[in-house]
């Protein structure tokens, strides 16, 4: 089977599975399970945003949660002030994107090397965490929205159908919206990566000096990729604020930032389906482990319930044993097992 046929087959498979999940899940599960699955879908959109920036753009961003959190906070603050969700939704995309464009401009045009990009982005999200964390007093408010510091912002009104304030989206609606968003994001990114822009950013990831000597300006392409990724993360943040009607500064924290990276590493850099599977799988595992360890548990039960420990072990295991991540490794096995060995040329 040639590469193009495999590609079409893969796309068709994702479409079928996606549509099946979209329509069957609400019929098969209770609302509480549906709520959990909704948050997996939202986080998978976030995972895709880093899959684009890091996996395809080659930009090591340790602070993807900064854009996610900015999206969530922007939506919360704008929604409390405006009361109709069209503008807050748009702002939740634009503000993280604008912030990324500004930050990215200084990083890429300032010729910051890859490692420092990671350090800077991580620092930025931790600065946001500390800043928002210390706004507990009543004097910290934007319009009628109190920032609430470490207490967060509760009671965020949910999304409504654009321009129709009274048609609010309920919990089941949130499931449909989040799942459809994930499916559309996946196919949107596939289209982007197949475009001239997408192929160019992959070339720049492979060898930015060569791209430059061919007349491409890597700084501009990286800035655009970073901004698109931030917009997506902001959108995911908006959905997340809706899902729980609540945001708190932990959204900017180290644990959240690290998780996104783990999803992408486990699933596989340079793929889109990998980070989705990594994200859903790890969240499911986290939830399952947490549920099995009641407070006061001892011995094995306490060990298995120690989620950060388990996540750390998974990360180390993958980095050492499956460095490419799940999907590329399985893809590699497929070609070893099923592709007949041919000579140098076909």
């Amino acid at each position: 089977m040639n590469a193009r046929a495999l590609n079409v087959l893969g796309l068709a498979l994702v479409a079928v599975v996606g549509i099946a999940v979209l329509f069957l899940t609400p019929r098969l599960f209770d609302l509480d399970v549906l709520l959990n699955i909704t948050v997996y879908m939202i986080m998978a959109v976030l995972a895709l945003s880093l899959a684009l920036i890091w996996g395809f753009g080659g930009i090591l961003c340790f602070g993807q949660s900064a854009f996610f959190g900015l999206g969530a906070y922007t939506y919360a603050i704008a929604m409390i002030n405006i009361g109709e969700s069209t503008a807050p939704l748009i702002l939740a995309i634009i503000i993280p994107a604008a912030f990324a464009a500004l930050l990215g401009y200084f990083m890429f045009y300032g010729r910051i090397s890859d490692v420092y990009l990671g350090v800077i982005t991580l620092t930025v999200t931790l600065i946001l965490f500390n800043s928002i964390n210390s706004t507990a007093g009543p004097e910290f408010h934007i319009g009628s929205a109190k920032l609430g510091g470490f207490n967060g912002i509760p009671g965020i009104p949910s999304l409504n159908v654009p321009f129709f304030k009274d048609w609010q989206i309920d919990l089941e609606g949130m499931f449909y919206l989040s799942t459809a968003s994930l499916i559309l994001t996946y196919f949107g990114l596939r289209a982007l990566l197949a475009s001239r822009f997408g192929r160019t950013i992959v070339g720049i990831r492979e060898n930015d000096r060569r791209a430059q000597l061919l007349g491409y300006d890597p700084r501009a392409y990286k800035l655009a990729t970073f901004t698109i990724g931030a917009a997506l993360a902001g959108y995911a943040g908006c959905l997340f604020a809706n899902w729980g009607s609540f945001v708190s500064p932990t959204i900017f924290g180290l644990a959240q930032s690290a998780q996104i990276i783990i999803w992408v590493i486990v699933g596989g850099r340079g793929t889109l389906i990998g980070p989705i599977l990594g994200c859903v799988g790890i969240q499911w595992l986290t939830a399952a482990l947490g549920a099995n360890a009641p407070s006061g548990a001892a011995g094995w039960q306490a060990l298995l319930g120690n989620v950060p420990l388990i996540l750390g072990a998974i990360l180390i295991a993958f980095v050492l044993l499956v460095p490419k991540g799940l999907v590329p490794t399985i893809g590699g096995l497929e070609s070893v097992l099923f592709r007949p060995r041919t000579g140098a040329s076909r």
Partner: protein, 240 residues
């Protein structure tokens, strides 16, 4: 007087206490072919890096068709029609041969036109048979051809070749000579090469670099018979 394709005036590069290139005045006309020779460390590669914007000279200027590009970014110089094949092949290792050539072509051509240009170039550099292979898995010689194809795909007016025959078999060297002659029908070239046989075959004017400065500039036969050049370069090489 016509404006030269590329010109440097008083070009110099200092790395800390080391003067790698000093006061180079160099001129190349449209469709001219020039070879650069000189012992290792003579400043040839540094000179190439300054011509392509990869290094900013510490003194002097670089002009492309009379436009000062001394402080320009590498991509801006590339867009003015300067292409370079580096000494160690610089290609997109994770991509296929076809994708490599497409990236070089796509800056100027779109859609079906780009596809056609890629297929034509695959044919020209003899890579059609391995077009779907990932470049990182190819042999060194093949990667050299991929890079040549990539550089030519941008349709530059000036092609810089840094040791194009290095690591090639005798047969491949002959093909490279043919290709250089073919390229030279429409484009100017500067070729850095150690192999005097190669230089004789392409029979060009030669500029000799020594200790960062231009030692001599003449045709290939005169260079080969010059006692000064023999002393600094050929003599050492013959003894080695």
């Amino acid at each position: 007087m016509t404006v030269p394709l590329i010109e440097t005036r008083g070009l110099g590069m200092r790395f800390g206490g080391v003067q790698a290139v000093r006061d180079v005045n160099f001129t190349l006309g449209e469709r001219e072919l020039r070879c650069l020779i000189g012992p290792n460390g003579a400043g040839k590669s540094t000179f190439f890096k300054m011509l392509t914007g990869q290094l900013k000279p510490t003194s002097g200027v670089v002009l492309v068709r009379g436009v000062d590009v001394t402080d320009a970014e590498p991509h801006e110089i590339a867009r003015r029609g300067v292409g370079i094949k580096t000494q160690v092949p610089s290609v997109f290792d994770g991509l296929t041969v076809r994708e490599n050539l497409w990236l070089a072509t796509a800056r100027m051509h779109r859609g079906a036109q780009a596809q056609r240009a890629v297929e034509t170039m695959l044919e020209r550099v003899g890579l059609s048979a391995i077009a779907s292979r990932v470049v990182g898995q190819l042999a060194h010689g093949q990667r050299q051809w991929v890079e040549l194809g990539v550089v030519l795909s941008t349709n530059p007016d000036l092609v810089l070749l840094d040791e194009p025959a290095a690591g090639m078999t005798d047969q491949e060297v002959l093909r490279t000579v043919e290709l250089v002659r073919d390229i030279n029908k429409t484009k100017a070239l500067i070729v850095v090469e150690h192999d005097m046989q190669f230089i004789r075959m392409i029979a060009s004017k030669v500029t000799v670099f020594n200790q960062g400065a231009v030692l001599m500039e003449d045709d290939v036969e005169a260079i080969m018979h010059s006692p000064i050049v023999r002393d600094v370069y050929l003599g050492k090489k013959a003894a080695a």
